[in-house]
């Protein structure tokens, strides 16, 4: 059989494509495994599965800790994003637009939580909360407020990072054009700057939500009876049993995050912002 030389992919191209395929496989294989096993009928995971079923989803639904964990996580993630995004946006504006000494330091300070391991930050917050409880004479650990405050610390650095990037890419001539047309500084901000920052802010809100929603390490020490987030509830379950129930819960979690990303992408092209 004849093959023209040009039809033969070069060794380099084959290698690059193989590497890309392997990279995707490594990223998606665990996720795919979880989704697939959630439908296996059997408790001990084995291939091929004897049968498929939805029993683990029913099982998860029957366990109150998961449903309560889900609502707790949703509530905290929404509140943390709602508080953290405005704070982070204001900080990003100050960092990019402000003219004061220490802007660089402020930026590093606000991004620092990204560099601190969650368990370390969680332990620190735990100790801080214990002292604060003493001082204020009220509960802070294991309360919604305590968890929201902790998760706000996740939202702020993400927001600062994304909004700073979108502000730096913003064409300031458009603001000048608006001023030139008679818009005072406040109007320029409201009608031109803010709408142009929108993609960054929307992306920041989404990432803040996801960061909070799937956070385990920071939350572990801060949860308490009645205030257990979904990831912590899953870890607790894992300590006693291992069966595809967890895979079912994880699949629900993955689906929710996936839907959120798809919906966000409809409004803001994420690939352009992040």
């Amino acid at each position: 059989m004849f093959l023209r030389l040009t039809d033969q992919p070069s060794l380099g191209r084959v290698l690059v494509r193989t590497l890309i395929a392997v990279a995707y496989l490594v990223i998606f294989a665990p996720v795919a495994m979880i989704v697939v096993t959630s439908f296996f009928a059997q408790e001990i995971i084995s291939f091929p599965p004897p049968a498929l079923s939805l029993q683990w989803y029913a099982n998860a639904w029957d366990k109150p800790e998961f449903l309560r964990g889900l609502t707790t996580s949703l509530e905290i993630a929404l509140l943390a994003a709602a508080i953290g995004v405005p704070i982070g946006t204001a900080a990003a504006l100050a960092i990019v637009r402000g003219e004061f000494p220490g802007r660089g330091a402020l930026s590093s300070f606000l991004l620092a939580p990204l560099a601190v391991p969650g368990v370390v930050a969680g332990s620190g917050l735990y100790m801080l909360y214990v002292m604060a409880e003493d001082f204020f004479d009220r509960d802070i650990k294991a309360t919604t407020e305590g968890l929201v405050a902790a998760h706000t610390l996740l939202a702020i650095p993400w927001t600062v990072r994304l909004v700073v990037a979108s502000l730096q890419g913003l064409d300031r001539r458009a603001e000048e054009a608006a001023a030139n047309l008679g818009a005072n500084p406040f109007t320029v901000f409201r009608r031109i700057t803010l709408p142009m920052m929108r993609p960054g802010i929307v992306a920041a809100a989404m990432f803040s939500f996801i960061q909070s929603f799937e956070n385990l390490d920071l939350s572990m020490l801060l949860v308490g009876p009645g205030r257990i987030t979904l990831p912590v509830a899953m870890l607790n379950y894992l300590e006693f049993r291992i069966d595809p129930t967890l895979a079912a819960v994880a699949t629900v979690q993955i689906t929710l995050v996936g839907i959120l990303m798809v919906v966000t992408d409809r409004f803001v092209k994420l690939s352009r912002v992040v």
Partner: protein, 356 residues
């Protein structure tokens, strides 16, 4: 429309001086172009007139009114930006209507004026498009309409054509110029493109290092530049260093004697001979005139460019491309040629005008 006056305007950034005591006036309905290399202070000047940049000293006046301390949004200038600076989240019509809205016009009146402005730039059919759905030329016209619809006191153009391709540039140039004349817009334009400046401006201001080198009509600057910098900046020019030898001769530093006219304004400190390439006539062979050897021939369509070595100097000559049967058409490098020019054509100028 107002007239514009700039008085002793300066802008310093730390130790460096971007604009140095600039004086300039633009009459009502006149288009004045600031021309100069990048960093000459032309854009800084425009931004001070628009109010985006506070001057270090000096005044900006619209008619007789001092606007130096007025913020940009109260100046009522209309500016077209180099990058167009359209509002990316608003349709073409909303972009154009923005200034009217800021002036408190009602929606009905606004719509009417927006339609009219878009018709003026022939974009009525694209009114609902977002900027990113428009081509560069169309965005440019939206920016024009947006600046014009508010009846600005002063019209400001910042390198308005530099983002367009060559063919479109010639078209938009004419379009802007005819709009400007028809509407009688007092216009200050910034450009580094001499062709743009020569073809559009009533008067040109050649700037360098924050200072004015020369102000005049395009013709004055082209034909009678005051120094070698201006001569070179407003068009191609053969500039040879040397000094006047006699009433009718100029001696270059390399020892060449060139014919000039005694009527050429006596300029005591003239150190350069400036002659436009198209003012030289080229002949094949020939015994009279300046003898030279052809170094290169470049065919450019309507015109042909010749580089001729004369002694140690090289002169550029531009002629209308000869017909194929003319002797000039057969010229090739290393052929002997002779050069002629009207004695009144060369200018004797200083290399650079001393600071006044």
């Amino acid at each position: 429309m107002s007239s514009l006056a700039i008085e002793k305007l300066s802008k310093r950034f730390g130790a460096s001086v971007a604009v140095d005591e600039l004086d300039l006036s633009v009459r009502e309905g006149e288009l004045v172009a600031l021309l100069g290399p990048s960093g000459c202070g032309k854009t800084t000047t425009l931004r001070m007139v628009a109010g985006f940049l506070p001057p270090s000293s000096g005044r900006v006046l619209f008619d007789k009114e001092d606007v130096t301390r007025l913020p940009a949004y109260k100046r009522a200038t209309g500016m077209v930006f180099q990058s167009y600076a359209l509002f990316p989240h608003m349709s073409a019509a909303d972009n154009v209507g923005f200034g009217l809205e800021m002036r408190g016009l009602g929606a009905t009146e606004r719509r009417k004026q927006v339609e009219e402005a878009l018709r003026l730039v022939r974009l009525s059919h694209l009114a609902e498009r977002l900027p990113r759905q428009l081509s560069g030329g169309q965005q440019q016209r939206v920016a024009l309409a947006r600046a014009l619809v508010v009846n600005p006191r002063i019209f400001l153009l910042d390198e308005p054509l530099s983002n367009l391709d060559a063919k479109l540039r010639a078209e938009v140039r004419l379009e802007i110029r005819s709009l400007q004349q028809r509407l009688g817009l007092t216009t200050l334009m910034v450009t580094h493109d001499r062709e743009e400046a020569l073809t559009m401006a009533d008067r040109l201001v050649v700037m360098e290092s924050g200072r004015v080198r020369q102000i005049g009509t395009p013709r004055e600057l082209y034909d009678a530049p005051k120094d070698a910098f201006v001569a070179d900046f407003v068009g191609r020019c053969n500039i040879l260093a040397g000094r006047r030898e006699s009433e009718i001769q100029f001696r270059t530093d390399s020892g060449l004697l060139l014919p000039v006219d005694s009527a050429v304004e006596e300029c005591k400190d003239a150190t350069a001979f400036a002659l436009r390439p198209e003012r030289i006539t080229l002949q094949a062979g020939g015994a009279d005139g300046i003898q030279g050897r052809l170094k290169a021939v470049t065919y450019m369509g309507a015109q042909t460019e010749y580089v001729v070595a004369v002694g140690a100097e090289a002169l550029v000559v531009v002629q209308s491309t000869p017909q194929v049967d003319e002797p000039l058409a057969a010229l090739k490098p290393d052929d002997m040629v002779s050069l002629h020019w009207d004695r009144k054509a060369p200018r004797l100028v200083p290399q650079a005008l001393p600071r006044v």
